[in-house]
């Protein structure tokens, strides 16, 4: 590592989470197919130290809640959107180094065996064991390097199915190669720091290297190393790297179903194949099994909040806070607190609903603590008149993953449309603020509970 840099890695992040009580250790041996159920029932992220039949520990549940995500990032929960936006605004280019911990062990050719990794079956109706924390790195002569998050289903000891169904930069890179009948070299990391994972999950415009955003999140250049078998750079301190190529078989190989980000079991799809030609890893690697849906959703939460702040700013609205909520998969449902001027409750709704994913919003005044659901409900109850303050917009861009748009009724290739709504829970124009004066206990500042209850 270059002098003066921290380049905090995945395991240093885990140690910090453990000190904060957000990561527990499971000492008893566990079978891989039981890990997801354990992670779902645990009060914190879990490091499964002994995985039956493997000498590689598995960690999961790291970003399951807003609190765990903030702990992983080392940020305050209220800062997520703002700090993400700041990082996007000041990207820092990565630097290539000659060697990295991710290549302490190199396995190539016929020695490659994916069954050596504790790839778990995660959900009852999944099509097989899944690598859920894969970050794929690729290169395109015109568009440059790209990173993105893709699920991968175990098929054979050398092959994985990769979900390239929806539009993405990697799909674009693959399509170019596929049209020529050529494979696309890629490298997939399993176990990178949240800065890289979150940057890869961010839908940056083509041509913008997501690892520049990772540098912005870090506040220093990310150190990357060249893959052993292809012209692709990967984070030097990753835990595990799978190197290989997307075969030019097109969208023909069965893949899925898999428990999707929206919390529902997805469909069987047909997708390309990823042939693994090399596995490199640290001497004592940790396998990250990202748990659906919340870990996947929270990786996008800060980007959603940052996008909301941006569109509200463009609309000239002063934002106090924005919260992407878990129930809306950290993207589909948003609560925003604003310093309102007349009419801006509705303006804010219009601005927020213009974002492609956001489907429902609540807008409050800045005296409401939007991280407290009771406070938000109070504002909706007493500051909203349903016939005046609920805005419904129809015929907007929808998503196939939402069953309420009945995507199965659409002709192939047609995008669904959806209706969206917003609740203006700001104090209505013409009602003076004193009508909402809160009750305050007498001599509140003079009384400390611990003086009486200890």
């Amino acid at each position: 590592m270059r002098a003066g840099r921290t380049n905090e890695d995945f395991r240093t992040m885990l140690a910090r989470m453990e000190r904060a009580g957000h990561l527990l250790r499971a000492k008893r041996s566990i079978r891989p197919e039981h890990i997801t159920a354990l992670c779902n029932k645990a009060p914190a992220a879990v490091m499964c130290e002994k995985v039956e039949g493997y000498d590689i520990p598995v960690v999961g549940g790291l970003y399951w809640t807003r609190a765990r995500l903030a702990s992983a990032l080392g940020w305050k929960e209220s800062e997520l959107g703002g700090r993400f936006a700041a990082a996007v605004g000041r990207p820092i280019a990565p630097e290539t180094v000659d060697s990295g911990a991710c290549q302490e062990v190199v396995v190539t050719g016929d020695d490659v065996d994916l069954t050596a990794l504790p790839i778990p079956l995660m959900h009852e109706k999944d099509g097989g064991p899944y690598i859920s924390a894969g970050v794929a790195f690729a290169n395109d002569p015109q568009l440059g390097p790209n990173a993105g998050c893709y699920r991968m289903m175990f098929r054979t000891s050398r092959e994985l199915g990769i979900d390239l169904f929806t539009a993405s930069d990697l799909r674009r890179y693959y399509q170019t190669k596929f049209d020529r009948g050529e494979p696309l070299p890629i490298a997939v990391t399993v176990g990178v720091h949240i800065f890289e994972h979150m940057a890869a999950a961010y839908k940056a415009p083509a041509g913008l290297n997501e690892m520049h955003i990772a540098g912005g999140l870090r506040g220093e250049p990310l150190e990357m190393v060249r893959a052993k078998t292809g012209d692709v750079l990967v984070p030097a301190n990753a835990e595990i790297v799978l190197e290989g190529e997307l075969l030019p078989n097109g969208w023909t190989a069965d893949e899925g179903p898999f428990g999707e980000f929206a919390g529902m079991q997805g469909d069987l799809k047909h997708n390309p194949l990823f042939r693994v030609n090399a596995i490199t890893h640290r001497r004592d690697p940790i396998f990250f099994a990202l748990q659906m849906p919340w870990e996947n959703d929270w990786l996008n939460g800060p980007a959603t909040e940052a996008a909301c702040m941006r569109v509200l700013g463009l609309a000239g609205i002063q934002v106090a806070a924005v919260r992407a909520t878990e129930g809306g998969c950290c993207g589909w449902s948003v609560i925003a607190a604003i310093k309102k001027r007349a009419g801006e409750g509705k303006n804010a709704i219009a601005a927020l609903l213009s974002l492609p994913v956001v489907k429902q919003v609540v807008v409050t005044d800045d005296d409401i603590d939007i991280y407290d659901s009771d406070e938000v409900e109070w504002a909706i109850t007493f500051r909203c008149q349903a016939d005046k303050d609920i805005v419904i917009l129809s015929g907007m861009k929808g998503k196939h993953v939402d069953p309420s748009v009945r995507p199965w009724d659409l002709p192939p290739g047609q995008l669904p449309t959806t209706s969206k709504f917003g609740i203006d829970a700001t104090i209505p124009e013409g009602i003076p603020a004193f009508r909402y004066e809160r009750i305050v206990p007498a001599f509140d500042a003079d009384v400390r509970a611990e003086d009486y209850l200890s």
């Binding site: 109706k125 000891s157 069965d254 179903p257 069987l268």
Partner: protein, 64 residues
């Protein structure tokens, strides 16, 4: 077939695949075997056969 593949386990899974099953059903039926051995057997089956899938994602093996 790899020398480390358990042939009896492969045959057991092939028998299970005579009717549509989820991968989870396969694991439940042969769960007394090490997980890695099951994955190796699955790899062997997928290499040698083209498995059919139904609309729910269940696998089965067409009669050869």
């Amino acid at each position: 077939m790899s020398e480390t593949t358990d042939r009896a386990l492969v045959a057991d899974i092939e028998r299970l695949l005579r009717k549509p099953v989820y991968f989870r059903d396969v694991l439940a039926a042969v769960g007394s075997h090490p997980y890695r051995a099951i994955l190796r057997a699955w790899s062997d089956i997928r290499t040698r056969h083209s498995l059919s899938r139904d609309e729910f994602g269940r696998y089965w093996l067409e009669k050869q």
